[in-house]
């Protein structure tokens, strides 16, 4: 009889990605560079990616809650639409977008960044993103919100 352990079964599939991340941590890499390919989704007249961005050289970098360096004017992912194309592709909130289809996004205005992502004739965007290591992220949170 095939055992029907709902949890172990899912445990198996759900754990694989989780195991990848600690490996990264073990190597003590401060940032995690990743290439993410997102297929745009047709929604009526629009092609959407399913995430929101913040930042830009014309924005105030001090307002960016995701950046470590508060003078960083790069483009950050501020929200991921659940189940959307970006979500499916593995983009995460807090990722910093370095390139979109080869175009640099580290020194662009907010609007240029948005336009670079929403080109109507492109069905796929390939992003190069960097992600703060989760250990650092945890540390930050611990520091900011000390236990009562």
């Amino acid at each position: 009889m095939t055992p029907l352990p709902s949890s172990p079964h899912l445990c198996f599939s759900f754990h694989s990605p989780v195991f990848l991340v600690p490996a990264c941590l073990l190597l003590k890499m401060p940032v995690h560079c990743q290439r993410i390919e997102i297929q745009k989704l047709q929604q009526g007249d629009n092609l959407i990616l399913g995430f929101s961005i913040g930042g830009g050289i014309d924005q105030d970098p001090g307002q960016n809650p995701f950046s470590e360096d508060k003078t960083d004017k790069g483009i950050y992912v501020t929200r991921i639409t659940p189940g959307g194309p970006a979500d499916v592709a593995g983009l995460m909130m807090g990722d910093k977008i370095m390139q979109v289809n080869g175009w640099d996004m580290t020194m662009v205005t907010h609007d240029r960044a948005r336009k670079r992502l929403t080109k109507k004739n492109e069905g796929v965007v390939r992003l190069l993103v960097t992600r703060k290591s989760l250990e650092e992220v945890v540390k930050q949170s611990m520091n900011k919100y000390p236990r009562q």
Binding site: C11, P17, L25, Q63, T78, R79, M93, V138, M142, Q148
Partner: protein
């Protein structure tokens, strides 16, 4: 110029902007003599533009942020140009009227049957102007980048449009304008003038004594000689820029407002010969030199796509009932059809209704440049002329004979064919094939934002016109209504989406229960890589969930809770499921579960909002830019529901396995506060976010 015995009075509306301008001595009242319907249309337009210009001036004087000032200055420039164009149009109409009267008297009627070609739509899109930065620019370390704000002004006939403003600095290799501009009534001999205006974006505008002096100098000089010349004689079209230190030739004497001023950097004129269905490069004439503050190293050319759709290609030229006979066929067999002449074909339908019903025509006869049409000899019996259409189909000549119902009809059809051919000869390459013009998607009006003050924010919200965000906004508002009416479990169609999510949420939780794991692992899994993350509910739900959480703690978490967002790093919060609802909860990383376990919270699930019956009288209106912070929580998956401590694993499992049973997990105020913080920090009023 005007007849002496004219006693008509100018009827400029009292209190109108135009009257004010006249009072200010800007326009001569005599210009408005003898108003007619056309004139009043133009006057209305001028009036409107003057008001817009005044508004822009006020905004310019009032705004403090640089982007706002630049945008306002751009509007000012556009309004001024439009006013000039309308003024000169009005002038021309006056002159034409007078000339008409004069010629009528002298009974010197000009050629009455001048054929006019049909008008058409002309669209210009994907403007790109390459820049050519010198190497030295890259190595200049003079602090801030030298930046300029640029935009394009496009003028065809009486229509003037501007593109969006783009900030340019040495990181850009091209200036790109993504707007598509469509001119609706262009004649084939159109001249589309493209002007690139730029303004240095670093000056201190508030304390500009020099700019003001320059402005007043310009205004006075333009007002006298050059201004009169412009007003009286200018055709809206190419005009030589007045070399006045690079000042714009179309600049009206503007009330001198301190602020950024745009200068003409380059211009070019496009006409029918430049029209093509693909991108072409055109030369730009550059005005100004390196010394100017608004200078940009332009490469000297401009790429764009200029397309034209003459009306003869898109509209029905003539339609009616005919009898068509193909030569070489049975002379008795002529088919009765309802024919429509459009574009390069004569479509013959069986019935008139087929045209609207979009049914395929019975057959189609080509009518293009190679076609020969002639009227045949009058049939002695019926006295009706036939029309013969001959085409060459692969070396063979095929002739169709059309018979109309009456002589007048024949005349009408011939006339229509002549006009059609004339149009095609005038529009030349535009009539070979229909060029596609992409209409810019209609801008959705920005949803009424409660506190948006910045013009810049409003601009961006408008232009993003993202359907999903609008939908999310609507959903958010509906959520609010639902909460307020405390309607439990009302499942609208979209709620089912949430339900699905919550169902799958428990699984990742359970996966962690198999063994105790160190804290870090769970935290790592806060945002698991792709598919294993629970599809999260969008935005809105989290807000409602927050409020529902707070129902036990009304006093401690007042309305402003929706501003609070935790740092994403700290967002290993997990809302455990409430006793009676399918809502897993997230707990703050820092939460001391042992102390909080006892308090039964009313469910603060990220994933199911409406289940909660919170009378959220404290639910403050959700900020409209809900796209940004709303689903922060959603990324905090229930993975971490197993969360933190293994000691809670059992209770966790209960909570996650059967959310219905509920676990006594509580929502610590810590999470709420941190949630609030993050959401406040992601407030688009402070930091702009865009949905893509």
């Amino acid at each position: 110029m005007f007849c002496r015995n004219q006693t008509a009075r100018a009827t400029v509306a009292r209190g109108s902007a135009l009257e004010m301008e006249i009072r200010r001595g800007k326009f001569r009242k005599s210009v408005f003599l003898d108003t007619s319907q056309q004139d009043s249309d133009i006057q209305k337009k001028i009036d409107h533009e003057i008001r817009m210009r005044d508004g822009a001036c006020k905004l310019l004087a009032a705004c403090s942020q640089r982007e706002q000032a630049l945008e306002a200055a751009k509007s000012l420039q556009t309004c001024s140009t439009r006013i000039m164009a309308y003024m000169s149009e009005l002038q021309r109409m006056k002159e034409a009227q007078v000339m008409q009267k004069v010629t009528r008297r002298s009974s010197d009627a000009g050629p009455m049957d001048d054929r006019l070609p049909c008008k058409g739509k002309v669209a210009i899109s994907d403007l790109r102007i390459p820049l050519m930065w010198k190497d030295t620019e890259y190595f200049k370390n003079k602090g801030e980048l030298h930046r300029c704000a640029v935009f394009c002004l496009l003028q065809l006939g009486g229509e003037i449009f501007d593109t969006d403003m783009v900030i340019v600095d040495r990181t850009l290799t091209d200036i790109c304008f993504d707007n598509t501009i469509v001119f609706k009534e262009a004649s084939p001999g159109f001249e589309l003038r493209v002007e690139l205006y730029s303004c240095c974006s670093e000056d201190d505008y508030s304390a500009g004594s020099t700019p003001r002096k320059l402005a007043s100098k310009l205004s006075s000089s333009l007002g006298r000689s050059a201004g009169k010349k412009l007003r009286a004689a200018m055709e809206p079209g190419p005009c030589s820029p007045i070399s006045n230190g690079g000042a714009s030739p179309l600049l009206l004497p503007v009330p001198s407002v301190a602020g950024p001023k745009y200068h003409l950097l380059a211009y070019t004129t496009l006409s029918l010969s430049n029209v093509q269905d693909s991108f072409r490069t055109h030369d730009l004439t550059i005005s100004g030199n390196e010394e100017c503050s608004y200078w940009l190293p332009l490469y000297g050319s401009m790429c764009c796509r200029l397309a034209a759709q003459p009306h003869c290609m898109t509209q029905q030229m003539i339609s009616g009932r005919l009898k068509v006979k193909q030569c070489g066929g049975d002379p008795q067999s002529s088919t009765k059809v309802y024919a429509v002449l459009k574009g390069t074909s004569l479509f013959c339908y069986h019935q008139q209704e087929d045209v609207e019903a979009n049914i395929e025509p019975a057959f189609t006869i080509a009518v293009n440049k190679e076609t020969r049409i002639r009227a045949s000899e009058k049939d002695p019996h019926s006295n009706v002329q036939n029309i013969c259409i001959s085409n060459q189909y692969g070396g063979e000549e095929v002739t169709h004979t059309l018979t109309t119902e009456s002589r007048e009809d024949t005349h009408r059809w011939m006339e229509a064919f002549w006009q059609h051919f004339y149009d095609m000869s005038q529009w030349k390459q535009c009539c070979d094939d229909l060029m596609k013009i992409e209409l810019p998607s209609p801008r959705k009006p920005a949803p009424a934002t409660p506190k948006q003050g910045s013009l810049y924010h409003e601009m961006v919200i408008e232009s993003s016109d993202d359907l999903s965000s609008t939908v999310s906004d609507i959903l958010a508002r509906r959520m609010q209504e639902l909460e307020l009416r405390s309607q439990l479990g009302t499942s609208s169609t979209w709620m089912s989406v949430f339900e699905e999510n919550s169902a799958c949420c428990p699984h990742p939780c359970t996966s962690h229960l198999s063994g105790p794991r160190p804290c870090t692992l769970h935290q790592l899994s806060r945002s698991p890589v792709s598919p294993h993350r629970c599809p999260q509910l969008a935005l809105l739900s989290s807000d409602a969930s927050l409020t529902s959480d707070s129902d036990s703690h009304r006093s401690t978490s007042p309305c402003s809770h929706h501003h609070g967002w935790p740092e994403p790093s700290s967002n290993f919060s997990l809302l455990s499921s409430s006793p009676s609802h399918l809502r897993p909860r997230t707990l703050s990383l820092d939460a001391k579960l042992s102390t909080l376990r006892g308090r039964g919270y009313g469910g603060g699930g990220t994933f199911h909002c409406s289940c909660q019956p919170p009378p959220s009288s404290l639910l403050a209106p959700l900020p409209i830019s809900s796209r940004s912070p709303r689903s922060q929580r959603s990324t905090q998956t229930t993975l971490s529901c197993s969360s933190s401590t293994s000691s809670n694993s059992s209770s966790n499992s209960e909570g996650s396995h059967s959310p219905a049973e509920g676990a006594p997990f509580s929502r610590p105020s810590m999470a709420r506060r941190s949630l609030r913080n993050l959401r406040a920090r992601l407030d688009p009023r402070n930091w702009l976010q865009s949905q893509v």
